[in-house]
């Protein structure tokens, strides 16, 4: 076990835990954002640089600070480590810079993007970005390529997190797509425009933090905040069968895997569940899905407030403002 202090809050975690996961055990404001790290996919992380944190004390044994900001998603904690995230101006500056870098070549076509409303980049930019751009050059464009009949690739929106390549490597038998070219000309592509066609390839859509990979069967059907998410399951011999149905009236517009509060899928679903069962009768409905009240999707969706939890949240917030150690809360994943 290692004791680590993040923004003044002490937490004890297992050896080998990364700083990001230690922060997630604390929860709340001290959790660094992550655009490329994905806890259920091995070797992800370290690329987007939005999770940079400052290590002011390396460990109890070697209290020297680390010379540079480190990627919290790939840096393991040491006993006695002291980390600054939102309490360090340097970290916030660097993060603001990274968000700006991610946005300079992003087309900002949110009004016509299917991901809008559930986009990690939108959330990140809202939280850490500047209101104005300083970039006056042309944004980069790519030649459009078709990667199959189920998944739509918008390369201009891609932030090159490499998550989809890890999905293909780790969930499917054979990876037929990857990153080609170099530098800012890098793009996701398939071997000579081969179609991405595999039982679990649809999970690429769920892990994509932006609208670069979207569901062709849901394309332009509805804005996500007009749909009603329902937890549902079916007996599937290929996957867990636990999904979210995005419905409008009795129509199932889209099926996706369930994501936790950090936008990560823990249980991946197969393409059959995702694309071939767009009928309410195929599913056992468990009930409406809990959507974080800050999300735009929760607009006009009312649910009963857990007064106990709300009280704890407020107490936590007050104590955090005073700079005290936060009490343990039962923050259940959404």
């Amino acid at each position: 076990m290692a004791k680590v202090t993040i923004d003044g809050i002490e937490v004890e975690v297992a050896d080998g835990t990364t700083i990001l996961n230690a922060a997630r055990q604390i929860g709340g404001e001290v959790v660094p954002p992550a655009m490329c790290y994905y806890s259920s996919l091995k070797d992800t992380g370290g690329k987007c640089r939005v999770c940079l944190v400052k290590v002011t004390q390396g460990s109890a044994k070697d209290p020297r600070p680390m010379p540079k900001l480190v990627a919290s998603c790939r840096t393991p904690v040491m006993d006695g480590m002291v980390v600054q995230n939102i309490t360090s101006q340097e970290v916030l500056e660097a993060r603001k810079g990274v968000v700006e870098f991610l946005l300079i070549n992003h087309p900002l076509d949110c009004p016509i993007c299917d991901q809008a409303g559930e986009c990690d980049l939108q959330n990140l930019a809202y939280e850490h970005g500047a209101a104005k751009t300083r970039y006056e050059e042309d944004r980069r464009t790519f030649e459009k390529i078709d990667i199959g009949d189920k998944i739509k690739l918008h390369m201009t929106r891609c932030i090159l997190c490499y998550r989809c390549t890890f999905v293909a490597d780790q969930l499917t038998n054979e990876r037929v797509h990857g990153v080609i070219n170099r530098g800012d000309a890098s793009e996701i592509s398939t071997y000579i425009e081969k179609a991405v066609d595999n039982e679990f390839s649809g999970n690429m859509i769920d892990v994509c933090p932006v609208g670069a990979l979207t569901d062709k069967t849901f394309r332009f059907k509805s804005r996500v905040w007009f749909t009603k998410p329902l937890d549902a399951h079916r007996n599937c011999d290929k996957c867990c069968g636990k999904v979210v149905l995005w419905t409008k009236g009795d129509d199932v517009l889209r099926v996706s895997a369930r994501k936790d509060q950090y936008g990560e899928v823990k249980e991946y679903i197969c393409n059959e569940c995702r694309y071939d069962h767009k009928n309410m009768n195929d599913w056992t409905i468990e009930g409406p899905r809990h959507i974080d009240k800050h999300s735009v999707i929760s607009q006009n969706h009312y649910e009963k407030i857990d007064m106990q939890k709300l009280k704890l949240d407020i107490e936590r917030q007050i104590q955090f403002q005073k700079g005290k150690q936060l009490p343990e809360t039962n923050q259940s994943p959404a």
Binding site: K68, A94, F101, L102, Y135, R182, G183, D184, A185
Partner: protein
């Protein structure tokens, strides 16, 4: 006294027989027959040899980090992916005396206990790959490579691997990825290559010149080698001198040579060409900060600047630079700093691997802004924008390429801001690409007649 280039002018020195006649492969004999691997490592440590690839990390220390307890095979990889603009010393060395590298590889591999070693050569150096392969064949035919070298129980296989011509593959972890046959993206550290490098085995990656220097260290002992040079900068260094000088080329200098002597002495660069004045120097390859003439000849404290790791970095980045890989680029008074900087930035934009966001997006952004300023379409805000973008890239990337792209921009604006302002204020005057050749840049005060 020359160490590496001592016999450079001997005809046929690129062949085994001539090289052997001039004292070649002595270090292999000495190491394998009279020394243990640890003793060789100890000599390298004593010599104070610092990595010649750019970062200047002590080579002996790097060797001692190698995980010797692991039961995995150990590897030595020679980094011959020399692609830093302004640096061409390794090419010269490998082309003229390939055997000094082979000899260094055998001795170093023995010290590290490597049974297989690789020389990773950049793709553009195809003819050098042929030279090296011929040299390896000659060494093998004479019993210096293969099974039971010189009758001892030490065996070594040495391979030459061509790269694809990417600058990023000169970064040690990207080089290892490329050597494994993958896309040359730098790895996140830790783990360091000394623990998990090539094929997840303990690996040491050293520059061509570093490995070649091991020969003379073993021959004449580490303590003797440490006597050359100044302070912690020991030994000799190859400097690739280029730019507006009378005698561009590769020179072997003893570290501690005054910069002024290096530029103006007839033994080395031979002064600035066409009798012009010195304007600026990039002392260690395109990625180190650029320094104006007054700061390259004398430090901020007024002491003469020496060609050594410490003296060149005296004053930090505010008034200093780095020795880097020894790519010494000299600019005379007609050089346009903005144009040169744009060229450098264009290179980093082209060579960024695209893995992490600040470098992928930031290098392109800086290039576009510099392109605008250089061609007379800049605004005054652009100058501060460049400084800010460089600051946001520096230190926030996976590998040092981000830093290498940011430092030249930050330093050029730090020392030559007036020139950037001139470009913005007088767009008509900079339309001609050779604008400062017609009329060398004068500061605003001169222009205004003050």
């Amino acid at each position: 006294m020359a160490r590496l280039l001592e016999h450079i002018n001997v005809p046929g020195i690129n062949t085994f027989d001539v090289y052997r006649k001039h004292g070649g492969y002595k270090s292999v004999e000495k190491a394998l027959k009279t020394m243990t691997p640890d003793e060789v490592t100890e000599e390298v440590k004593k010599s104070g040899l610092r990595g010649r690839g750019g970062a200047g990390f002590p080579a002996g220390m790097k060797w001692s980090f190698l995980d010797r307890k692991s039961d995995k095979p150990r590897y030595l990889v020679c980094n011959a992916d020399e692609s830093e603009p302004g640096t061409f010393k390794d090419r010269y060395l490998m082309e003229k005396i390939p055997h000094v590298l082979i000899e260094g590889m055998i001795t170093s591999s023995y010290a590290l206990g490597a049974k297989t070693s690789y020389i990773y050569v950049r793709g553009e150096y195809m003819y050098i790959i042929r030279i090296l392969e011929k040299a390896i064949e000659e060494a093998r035919a004479n019993g210096f490579l293969g099974k039971n070298i010189l009758g001892t129980d030490y065996s070594l296989e040495l391979y030459v691997q061509p790269g694809g011509g990417a600058y990023i593959c000169g970064e040690e972890t990207a080089l290892l990825e490329s050597l494994e046959g993958k896309r040359g993206n730098p790895r996140l550290k830790p783990p360091f290559p000394a623990v998990a490098g090539l094929y997840a085995s303990p690996t040491v990656v050293n520059n061509v010149e570093t490995i070649s220097a091991v020969c003379s260290i073993v021959n004449e002992s580490g303590d003797e080698y440490a006597k050359i040079g100044v302070g912690k900068s020991t030994g000799t260094k190859l400097i690739s001198a280029s730019g507006h000088i009378n005698k561009p080329g590769v020179y072997e200098i003893e570290l501690g040579l005054p910069v002024e002597e290096f530029i103006y002495s007839d033994q080395y660069c031979g002064g600035i060409w066409k009798g012009r004045k010195l304007k600026a120097v990039v002392a260690g390859g395109s990625s180190v900060p650029i320094l104006p003439a007054e700061l390259i000849l004398k430090t901020a404290k007024g002491e003469p600047r020496l060609m050594s790791y410490e003296s060149l970095s005296d004053g930090g980045f505010a008034t200093g630079t780095m020795l880097g890989s020894g790519g010494f680029i000299v600019m005379d008074e007609t050089a346009c700093i903005v144009r040169n900087l744009w060229t450098f930035t264009r290179f980093y934009h082209h060579e960024s691997c695209g893995q992490c966001s600040p470098c992928r997006e930031g290098t392109g952004w800086m290039e576009k802004v510099l392109h605008r300023i250089e061609h007379g379409h800049g605004h005054m805000e652009d100058i501060d924008l460049l400084v800010d973008v460089a600051k946001k890239i520096e230190g926030n990337t996976i590998c040092p390429l981000g830093d290498a792209a940011a430092w030249p921009v930050a330093s050029a604006i730090r020392h030559f801001r007036e020139e950037f302002e001139y470009h913005v204020k007088y767009p008509e005057k900079v339309k001609n690409p050779k604008h400062f050749e017609l009329e060398p840049f004068r500061s605003e005060k001169v222009l205004a007649g003050v």
